[in-house]
Symmetry: C2
Subunit: 294 residues, 2 copies
């Protein structure tokens, strides 16, 4: 299944904005560092996080330009991938079909490129002009979602879980809510808040985001177990090789696929407070995540 | 020379606030990660950055509680030390007299503890309530000072300079303005802005901060060349061993000491727009940095 057309358009729009944003900064950043940041940030990827934010914003009736906020979360995601790939972490050599940052450059540069994209993420958020009064709250929400209480903590739980065979479904879910769910939740909540959605609607969008985060992970686990390196653009079958507890290792492929359908229903139910027509792209997005092949 | 008494009081006040802030978060962060963050953040240190901010705030007539902003910059500093010490960077084993984070824990935990303190820094900044309208601008200023255009970029310049013997004074100064000066500049400017100082005064404080940053570095270079491991609580004589270009390697000890006095005068002159009595602690602070032995 190809991405829906509106998502492809979003991706292009986001790529262009990211590229212009990086160009603007080129002369103010040491060259090697800029190249490493640019290399990882512009290495493709599905741009799901900013796309989700932009779609939620539109679905909630937002009409302004929230691209700085959308780019901000993509920089945050990109930083986390660079650091997760480091030799002392997952030691990955391939990402999106090309060498990972520390392989293409070196380890010190990769650490610093990750750090710099991390800081840039907050810099971009501070540049949002649609509703300046929301900035403190968005900075706080993004920091909690991305930091030790969220994504960063999730990575620690993930590392600690390696090689352990006694994990159950709740343990695995806890890892992924932290590692993926909270930042996706933030994306959707931020999109709704920026569009001045009613609290009930903003909360619904946040729940949708969290469900989409788990959807994403279950789909990833299934792909890791069933796809090839070439299809994925990264090393496949790694979970099993590393004896990692995943939805697939705990449930088996068939039940993992059932779980995926269940989670899709949860995501779609969360959208009920939104107008049906406005929510349509969010429905398509969730369906695309379930059926994507890479 | 012992730190002036008001600085010792500030340090205690900051230690207590940092400790309470970390305690509050303990149950919401995976245990290993929390311990590593706590280990590095609470491992002493002079707390010069938050102390400077609090003193500038007071010197400019501020009466509110800006401790979240002060703690924020200390978390930023602490993150940068953890990452700078990593094996792929400076590979340091000793910091403030105790093992560095990656030695006390492991490399992956140190990367993530640094990352988490980095995010926490922005989280704390978002919690400032003294003047919420200032938050976007402070987030932006701190991100620029700490990111690829500032401290992060400075670390890249520093790494690239290693082993090069053709650096001159301007090159070394450029490294340190980025690596140390810009964040100290931000501390002083933020203190003034939060106290609603006139633009001229805020600008003067910013210049004072940048000069103090260079003061600090020149003093560090001199200490590295003249003090022992035990006095410093870290490896001394490292600059020479690594053939690093420093103020001392380029100027020699005597001229580096003259440069230190010159920079002290620049820092003190910058304070002229402030009331003399109010500026007194800032004068003492600059003098202390020049004459400190550790």
């Amino acid at each position: 299944m190809k991405p829906p057309e509106f998502l492809q358009q979003r991706q292009q729009q986001i790529e262009l904005a990211l590229s212009a944003m990086m160009q603007k900064r080129q002369t103010r950043i040491p060259q090697t560092l800029w190249k490493a940041m640019h290399y990882s940030l512009m290495a493709g990827g599905k741009r799901i996080r900013p796309a989700l934010m932009l779609e939620v914003y539109q679905a909630c009736g937002g009409k302004g330009d929230i691209m700085p906020v959308a780019m901000s979360v993509e920089c945050m995601h990109s930083y986390s991938l660079i650091h997760d790939d480091l030799p002392c972490m997952d030691d990955d050599h391939l990402r999106r079909g090309i060498p990972t940052c520390h392989v293409a450059f070196d380890e010190a540069t990769a650490v610093l490129a990750g750090d710099s994209l991390h800081t840039l993420s907050f810099e971009l958020l501070s540049e949002m002009t649609v509703d300046k009064d929301l900035t403190p709250s968005l900075v706080q929400k993004m920091a909690v979602a991305a930091g030790a209480q969220g994504m960063g903590g999730g990575q620690v739980l993930d590392i600690e879980a390696e090689g352990r065979v006694d994990l159950d479904l709740l343990d695995v879910e806890r890892i992924h809510i932290h590692k993926t769910g909270m930042l996706l939740r933030y994306c959707c909540e931020a999109g709704a808040l920026l569009a001045k959605a009613e609290p009930e609607v903003a909360h619904a969008c946040a729940r949708y985001g969290e469900a989409v985060g788990l959807l994403f992970q279950i789909a990833d686990d299934i792909l890791d177990a069933t796809a090839t390196d070439a299809e994925l653009g990264k090393s496949a079958g790694k979970d099993q090789a590393q004896e990692k507890s995943t939805y697939v290792s705990i449930l088996g492929i068939e039940q993992a696929q059932e779980k995926l359908q269940e989670m899709l229903e949860i995501a779609l139910e969360a959208l009920e407070p939104l107008e049906e027509k406005a929510a349509q792209p969010l429905v398509l997005l969730a369906n695309y995540i379930v059926s994507r092949k890479t």
